[in-house]
């Protein structure tokens, strides 16, 4: 048991020190292969997400999560300009389970979001990417590598995301 605890701590420290991505660095980490669905029920292989070599934002959210909706509403205000400037695409991954999954489409439409929407009702992609809590946002560069991630949302955080997108857009 003692050994295991030491092992646990060692693994934790090692993993934290080695893999906390400090932003803007291409670690070569890609999207994992997870099969989920979009709102129309089509299968999505998450590893195959692409945007013609332009950046992609993967944002985890839920209908009941206020900061998540605030983040996606805030980005929506600047989205058209941002797409024009950087070619970015945002994929909003809803982790709503069966209780709230059917509220995703009315919520997205009523809010007027122009994002791609994926449904992850059993948390398969959330787990594969190591998301603890929503909101959490990942930025993928044109090669599909995860170059930046941020958890939580406070007003002003969007500016940091825009800066990171601009850094990697061609």
């Amino acid at each position: 048991m003692k050994k295991l605890s030491i092992l646990l701590i060692a693994a934790g420290l090692f993993a934290t020190l080695s893999f906390v991505n400090d932003g803007g660095i291409d670690t070569g980490k890609k999207m994992p292969t997870v099969m989920i669905k979009d709102m129309e029920g089509h299968d999505i292989n998450t590893a195959e997400v692409s945007n013609d070599g332009n950046p992609i934002v993967i944002s985890f959210w839920a209908t009941w999560c206020k900061p998540c909706r605030l983040e996606l509403n805030t980005i929506m205000d600047d989205y058209d300009d941002l797409v024009e400037e950087t070619g970015v695409k945002l994929v909003a991954v809803s982790i709503d389970d069966e209780r709230n999954k059917h509220k995703v489409e009315p919520t997205v439409n009523a809010a007027g979001w122009d994002y791609d929407i994926w449904l992850d009702p059993n948390g398969d992609l959330k787990r594969a990417l190591g998301v603890n809590n929503v909101p959490q946002t990942f930025l993928l560069n044109g090669e599909g590598s995860i170059v930046w991630t941020h958890s939580g949302f406070s007003p002003g955080d969007e500016e940091e995301l825009y800066d990171e997108i601009r850094k990697i857009s061609k």
């Binding site: 919520t107 009702p121 940091e160």
Partner: protein, 552 residues
């Protein structure tokens, strides 16, 4: 075995560093979460500190993938578990491990896995860590996609029950299941551009548990099956699932030999600026577990979502929350979302968002005429959507939110609950129905590019239980890192004057990219903590809580 796995985990990250240079697709991902509490006694609010004074929950997930191969492990540690967390979690050990291969058309997983068939009414293994829920399967899974638009899944295993002194204890029963899912638009090329979208699916799940009962002949194998259909035409959609369960005597249903059913139907229409959703649910005798003597939240094979809004404002979410009744309920829910267009007189410059939600849950009628309970132990007959006028829960809530200018946003919220304390007992201070009204005002002011201030004022008004409550919250954030907040909950309407207590709670924290730490200190009142319609009571606490999370 454990040693082998542990060394594998330590070894893999090194591999990935080496492999990163060679293969493009070697990945290590994962996360860590640690919660440490230092607790004090506080007899005024009924908070008790354990002997150890300090308690801890910790988790570390590591996933490694290389090409088509993926493996992962989760360490977890409860020394002992934090206040209010299920006491059957103790010690340090490996709580989850798996290996997986994903080919073009086939994916195989061995070890632990989470999975859901359809809406989950028949089968869902999942994790809700905050509640202490984890019914992960331990066994094997195969997913097969022979052609585009068709997916077949098979699962076989036992479920996680407890985590005792660092070791996972599994269910006594074994769960086997098969599910098929077809999307006709993807399957039939000539149908792919049709405005009509059709998908359908079917599932079969069976559990086996040995039985040794002197008085009853208990079925050792219990089957459950059902189908689902989803149709969508332009902006309209309707989907539903029907599940039938064979007779399944258990502690939950008092060992009756009734069969059970579950039906979920969703109908919606939505276009830009508007969303309407009508949901209906009928459940009878649908507690389906991998061990028949277990009650509470553990070892469910299936998932029964609550058909009501998930409230997140403190007073609306934690005092009188509704939870699903596995023995039976009939429920209806309506959601209406509308955005008053921007640049209009009523909508304002940025538009105004409206959301109305109403849900009503009643007990099902149990027809008892012509029953021979002493012969076949079938206690009653239950029919789909056969609701009685015995109310389980009524919830009406309305939300308005508006952005006034670039700096100021505000929202107002109203809730009306009629809560049945006999069905979902949350308080001993009241019996029967508890009627409450709640109002919330939430305001946010962005001071400049990085600084923002948020304030919540909440009031709960009821003549029953502990009377009226008021809550105020003030939060200051400095993007992208810092946040500090103070919240006070005041039970000013308690009929016992000495119980008109304040619960003052402060917190601050820092976020660096995907790592975050937070300190919370002060008093937290007892309440009910719910996610997805599953709830667990949380005791009153007084002390300091440290939380650290990171994703890597």
């Amino acid at each position: 075995m454990k040693k082998l796995l542990s060394s594998l985990v330590l070894f893999l990250p090194f591999c990935s560093i080496a492999q990163n240079q060679i293969f493009d697709r070697a990945n290590v991902t994962g996360n860590m979460e640690t919660t440490i509490q230092y607790l004090n006694d506080d007899s005024t609010i009924g908070a008790f500190a354990p002997e150890q004074k300090a308690v801890m929950n910790s988790y570390l997930n590591v996933n490694y993938s290389l090409g088509k191969f993926r493996t992962g492990v989760r360490f977890e540690s409860y020394l002992p578990s934090i206040a209010g967390y299920p006491a059957f979690y103790s010690g340090t050990g490996i709580g989850y491990r798996f290996a997986e291969y994903s080919g073009e058309k086939i994916q195989v997983t061995m070890g632990n896995f989470f999975e859901q068939f359809g809406s989950g009414l028949i089968f869902r293994s999942y994790e809700e860590r905050a509640l202490g829920l984890d019914n992960a399967m331990d066994g094997a899974r195969i997913r097969f996609s022979p052609i585009k638009g068709m997916q077949l899944k098979g699962v076989y295993g036992r479920q996680r029950f407890n985590f005792d002194d660092g070791k996972v204890i599994l269910s006594e029963g074994v769960v086997r299941g098969f599910d098929g899912d077809v999307n006709l638009n993807d399957l039939i090329p000539s149908f792919s551009d049709s405005k009509l979208k059709v998908s359908l699916g079917g599932s079969f799940v069976s559990k086996y548990e040995s039985a040794n009962n002197d008085t009853l002949i208990i079925p050792k194998n219990v089957g459950s099956y059902g189908g689902r259909l989803s149709l969508r035409y332009s902006k309209f959609y309707i989907n539903g699932e029907y599940i039938h369960k064979e007779n399944d005597p258990s502690a939950q249903n008092n060992y009756i030999y009734n069969s059970g059913h579950g039906i979920l139907i969703n109908m919606g229409y939505s276009k830009k600026g508007l969303g309407i959703l009508l949901s209906a649910k009928s459940i009878d005798n649908l507690s389906y577990r991998s061990q028949r003597d277990v009650i509470g939240n553990q070892l469910f094979i299936n998932y029964l979502p609550a058909l009501s809004n998930q409230h997140t404002y403190n007073l609306a979410g934690t005092l009188y929350p509704y939870a699903s009744q596995p023995n039976g309920e009939v429920a209806y829910q309506l959601d209406f979302l509308y955005k008053i267009p921007k640049k209009t007189k009523i909508g304002g410059k940025y538009g105004t968002d409206l959301h109305l939600n109403v849900s009503v849950v009643t007990a099902p009628v149990q027809h008892t005429s012509n029953m021979n309970f002493n012969v076949d132990r079938i206690a009653y007959e239950g029919r789909p959507f056969d609701g009685s006028d015995s109310l389980y829960n009524f919830d009406l809530n309305f939300h308005v939110s508006r952005k006034f200018n670039k700096k100021f946003k505000a929202s107002a919220h109203y809730f009306h609950f009629v809560f049945n304390n006999e069905v979902n007992t949350v308080t001993k201070k009241a019996s029967g129905y508890i009627t409450s009204d709640i109002g919330v005002i939430d305001m946010q002011y962005k001071i400049n590019r990085k600084h923002a201030l948020r304030m919540e004022i909440q009031g709960l008004f009821t003549k029953q239980d502990r009377g009226n409550w008021a809550t105020a919250l003030l939060e200051y954030t400095i993007s992208p890192g810092w946040f500090v907040a103070v919240m006070d909950q005041w039970n000013y309407g308690n009929s016992t004057v000495k119980d008109r207590l304040h619960y003052l709670l402060g917190s601050f924290g820092y976020t660096h990219n995907s790592s975050r730490f937070m300190f919370t200190f002060g008093k937290q009142r007892e309440g009910i903590f719910c996610i997805g319609g599953v709830c667990r009571p949380v005791p009153a606490t007084n002390g300091l809580t440290f939380t650290f999370t990171t994703t890597f």
